[in-house]
Structures are given as C-alpha cells and as structure tokens.
C-alpha cells in the first residue's frame, strides 16, 4: 500500500483489524481534481482580475482586498448578526457565485455607524481584520454619488439638506453649491445643491440611508475608491488627487 492509502483505505486484512474509511483512491483523486478545476474556473472570473469591480460590492470596514477576502470569509454571518444597523447583508450574486452570502453593505437597510467596529471584532477568520475606531473612521469603504435625476434639489428644484446633516465626518463630506434654478412658474430661484467631497467621504452610507427617497435613494454609495482594493480607485495619484 502507498503510505497515504493507509489513511483512506481499509484498516487491514478483513476480519483482523477494524474497518477503515474504505475510500477509493481513484474517487478521492477525482473529487480533488473536480475541486481544483472548479476552483480554477472561479479564479478566471473577471471579478478576480483586479480589473473588474462590482459597484455594489461595498464591504464592511476592515475587509481585506477582494481576493484575500474570498479566500478567508466563511460566510458565517457573525458580522451580519452583530451589525447594529442591519446594514451588512449576505450577498446574492453581486460579487459572482463564489461570493455568495459574503457580507455586503446595503445602505437602504442600514448604514455604517461611525463609532462602531464590531464586525471587525467578531470576524473569526480576519476576512475583516480588526481595526480601531480611529482607523475605521478614515477607512473608505466606498464613495457617495448623487443621482441628479432623483435628488430633490437637482431633479425637482426643492430644498433638501438631509444628507449633509447626517454626514458624520468631522468636516462634512457633503457640501453645497448655491445655484440659480428655474422653478415651475418660470421664476429664478436660488437653491443649495449637494456635492460630495471625494477626499472626505468614507462611504458610510448614512446619506443614502436617510435620503427621503426610499426606493433607491437620490444619493448612493458604490465601491469606487475603497481603501482595501488599491486598483479600484477614482483619483490617479500625482494628479492632485
């Protein structure tokens, strides 16, 4: 017998020693090969190339770069259970089949609480590495952007400052540009239109969560600019970014 056959095969001559696992070497190798080739097929998906990123794949703060994240995360749901705002949700197919049930932030359900690092504390495999509150408050998990076809001051010429009021960063990541717009009666009217400061926004998503438009908010967070994936950036370094 080959040395490792001892561990998969019979315990010894029948009737003398207790029965072993009774596995067939060929089937073990076959199963291993299926896993390996299946794994490699997953590994050639565009999402694993560091060129293609899902805008919807906003991971909790402290999440490591996507490839390492997928290798570590066991989809146990600890982070989803502990999240105080219920923002962390099991992914469907946002990150491809292999990212099924990994944690993604859904800002319509919750948002990333500025003072909280619980998900990074409870992750058993350090797919979300432990971060301090100070570090977390500087980690970008994504970036907010305005949907000008929906956001009230842009689309309808109505005053709304809800997102700016909730923005938690010390210097607000949402600022206003005062603009003249024409209202429904044809009169010129001054209105504050919100803008995102790309340097200050950490993607916490409270703006999206508190936006009065509930069915897909007027301001939303996408994964662009996330700290964990150096390739998924918005600003080219050296160009004043």
């Amino acid at each position: 017998m080959k040395p490792w056959s001892r561990w998969i095969g019979k315990g010894g001559p029948k009737g003398k020693k207790p029965a072993g696992l009774g596995l067939k070497r060929r089937t073990v190798l076959g199963a291993g090969l299926v896993g390996l080739s299946g794994g490699l097929v997953f590994r050639i998906q565009p999402r694993t190339s560091k060129k293609s990123f899902s805008p919807l794949l906003v991971r909790p703060p402290g999440a490591v770069a996507e490839q390492e994240f997928l290798a570590r995360c066991v989809r146990c749901g600890e982070c989803m259970k502990v999240c105080p705002t219920n923002a962390i949700q099991p992914a469907a197919l946002e990150g491809g089949l292999e990212a099924g049930w990994t944690p993604v932030m859904k800002m319509d359900i919750g948002y990333c609480e500025y003072e909280c690092t619980l998900c990074s504390q409870v992750c058993p495999t350090q797919a979300i590495r432990p971060v301090s509150v100070e570090e977390k408050q500087k980690l970008k998990i994504g970036l907010a952007y305005f949907d000008k076809n929906k956001c009230l001051p842009y689309a309808y010429g109505r005053t709304c400052i809800v997102c700016e009021e909730h923005c938690p960063t010390p210097k607000k990541a949402i600022w206003f540009e005062e603009t003249d717009v024409v209202n429904i009666r044809g009169e010129r009217q001054r209105i504050k239109q919100p803008r995102v400061d790309v340097d200050l926004c950490i993607g916490c998503g409270i703006c999206e969560n508190k936006c009065p438009i509930k069915a897909e908010a007027g301001v939303r967070v996408f994964s662009g600019g996330e700290t964990r994936n150096p390739e998924n950036q918005i600003l080219l370094s050296g160009f004043g970014g």
């Binding site: 009774g22 896993g35 997953f42 989809r75 600890e78 989803m80 502990v82 469907a92 495999t125």
Partner: protein, 324 residues
C-alpha cells in the same frame, strides 16, 4: 417491542455535555450584538476557533493562520487520540441533529434497518477532498458547508429573525387583547415575561436579511433529513465530520465487545447515530462513530463497553465496567 432499557450513565453524561455546549453556543450567539458599547462580551468566536476545518482551509487558501485559530489543534489532537467525540459531544449543529433524530422515534425495527453503515457515507470524504482543493486555489466552498458556519448563518439570518418576529407578534397580540377573568388580566404575567425576553433574548430591532428564505429553507432541509436517516448531515455531508473522521480513524479509545457476551443480535445499531456498523469487532468503523454510547444502552447482554487500546475485542481485565 424491545424492553425499555435504562440509558448508560455515559449517555446521560453526553446529553449533559451536549446541552452545555449548545447552551454556550446560543449564549454566545445572543451576545453577538452591539451591547450599548462598541465591544462584544465573552469568547464570541470560540466555536469557530475550535474548528480545524476553518483553520485548515484558511491556511491552504492564504497560507496564514491567526493565533486564536491554534485552538483548533486541541480538537485535532483529541480526535487523533480518541476519535470523533467532538461530533457526538460538542458540535452544536450535531446536537441539534441528534435532537431531531430523537424526535423521529419510530419502532426499533425500522430504525435498525437504516442504523448500520452505508457506503454513501463516504460521500462526505469525497466532498471534503473537493472542497480542500478548491480552497487551495482560494475558493471557499468550506464556508458554505462548515457546520459551525452553516448553523450560525442559518440562525442569524433565518431562524432568529423569524423567532423574533413571532414572539413580538404574540406578545403584542396578548397586550392588545389582554384576555383575563375579571380583575386578573393576562398582561400581569405576560408583560414581565416580555420585558425579560426583550432584555435577554429578543433583538433590539427586528433584523431583516436578503436571501433569508433560501438560507432558512436549506436549514429546514438539513433538519428534515434526520427523519430519513439518523443524523443525515453528520453521516453523509459534514466536511468537518469527514476531516475528524480521517484524523480520528485509529483512536486509542474504542468501543469493545466481549466475544462471549455478544450474541450477534445487532440491536446495537438501533440508535447508532453515526452509522458506524456493528459495535466492537471488525465491522465497527471508528471514523463513523460519534461515541454517543447509545449502543452501550441498547445492548441486551451488556457486551459493549469503552476500552483502551487498538484491539477490537475486549479482554475482561482491560474493560472498565461502564455499561451501568
């Protein structure tokens, strides 16, 4: 019908241990919350750190292992020396399957028909082999099927939110209707109970999760399969059980029979949880045995006991009288 037999004290010890670990699992589950401050209480990740499958897969996939994961070597060493006690005595998912298997009941004859070893039990080893090679290239199939992970996910995303919804609805209804007789109202009792539940068991806010229907359906499926075969998940699917089976297939502690006492009635298979084959002797498969000790209770001639050493048949002098 077979005479009702008093369970071996080992069975009671096992039930006690299982209850303890299941209660600990639920306790840690309920404490995995934001509890006014940004810190969780207690060893929240204990069961994950005891899980050598997660440790092995993380190591294969990313070649690193955090220090806390070294706790899983305890499980490995215990299994290597003594067999799959983890499955029968510690694993919270195993305990839940054990519970549903016991609920099934049924006549001994029917249980006996499916109590023995089934070649399909090898499936879990083949699944494990495939999962680990997939893990080697960084695809985490283990995460979907690891029992600790599976249980926590199912509880967190389906069972617990549904439970929470149900309890809140019940107590809200009781509060609104407030049935009673004269001055004695139900709320006098139900409100303090509700207050306690809100403080210790229920969620601060009703949790909602995308995909909870699928997660819940798979959970119910694994539980329902216990009615088809005792501890179906543990016997046929569980990758952690497979890993522990590989490691623990030559334990130092074994179930042994005394040849003169065994009359080959095979009643030891009636309540066998793992489908380990006829106890003692050459047919018994240590890799499939959870050491649940039900066979010790079931044996009408008290021929089975736990003994030390790698030989299947017990000599009377090496046996510790454990059957009663």
């Amino acid at each position: 019908m077979a005479m009702m037999r008093r369970a071996s004290w080992l069975v009671w010890l096992r039930r006690l241990t299982q209850t303890f670990f299941l209660a600990l699992f639920f306790y840690l589950f309920l404490h995995t919350v934001y509890h006014p401050i940004n810190r969780t209480e207690g060893p929240i990740k204990l069961f994950f750190h005891l899980d050598p499958l997660i440790a092995l897969n993380t190591w294969l996939a990313w070649h690193t292992l955090e220090r806390a994961m070294l706790l899983s070597t305890v499980t490995l060493i215990v299994t290597l020396l003594f067999g799959r006690w983890f499955c029968g005595w510690v694993c919270p998912f195993g305990t839940i399957h054990n519970f549903f298997t016991s609920v099934r009941g049924g006549p001994a004859k029917a249980k006996l028909a499916t109590g023995g070893y089934d070649r399909w039990q090898r499936l879990k080893y083949y699944l494990l082999a495939g999962m680990l090679t997939a893990g080697l290239v960084g695809v985490n199939v283990v995460g979907w099927l690891d029992p600790i992970s599976f249980l926590f996910r199912s509880l967190a995303m389906a069972a617990y939110p549904a439970f929470n919804r149900g309890v809140v609805a019940l107590f809200t209804w009781l509060y609104d209707v407030n049935p009673g007789l004269g001055a004695v109202r139900a709320t006098a009792v139900t409100e303090p109970v509700y207050e306690f539940l809100r403080g210790h068991v229920l969620a601060v806010q009703q949790p909602h999760y995308h995909g909870s229907v699928l997660i819940g359906a798979l959970f119910i499926l694994t539980l329902a399969l216990n009615f088809f075969r005792a501890r179906f998940w543990c016997r046929y699917v569980c990758p952690l059980g497979a890993l522990l089976g590989v490691v623990g297939q030559r334990p130092l502690v074994r179930l042994k029979t005394t040849a003169e006492a065994c009359n080959d009635c095979r009643l030891c298979l009636t309540d066998c949880q793992g489908g380990a084959g006829q106890q003692g002797g050459p047919e018994w498969r240590p890799a499939e045995c959870f050491f649940c000790c039900n066979c010790i209770s079931d044996c009408p001639t008290h021929a089975i006991a736990i003994g030390v050493g790698r030989k299947g048949e017990a000599k009377n002098e090496t046996l510790v009288a454990l059957d009663r």
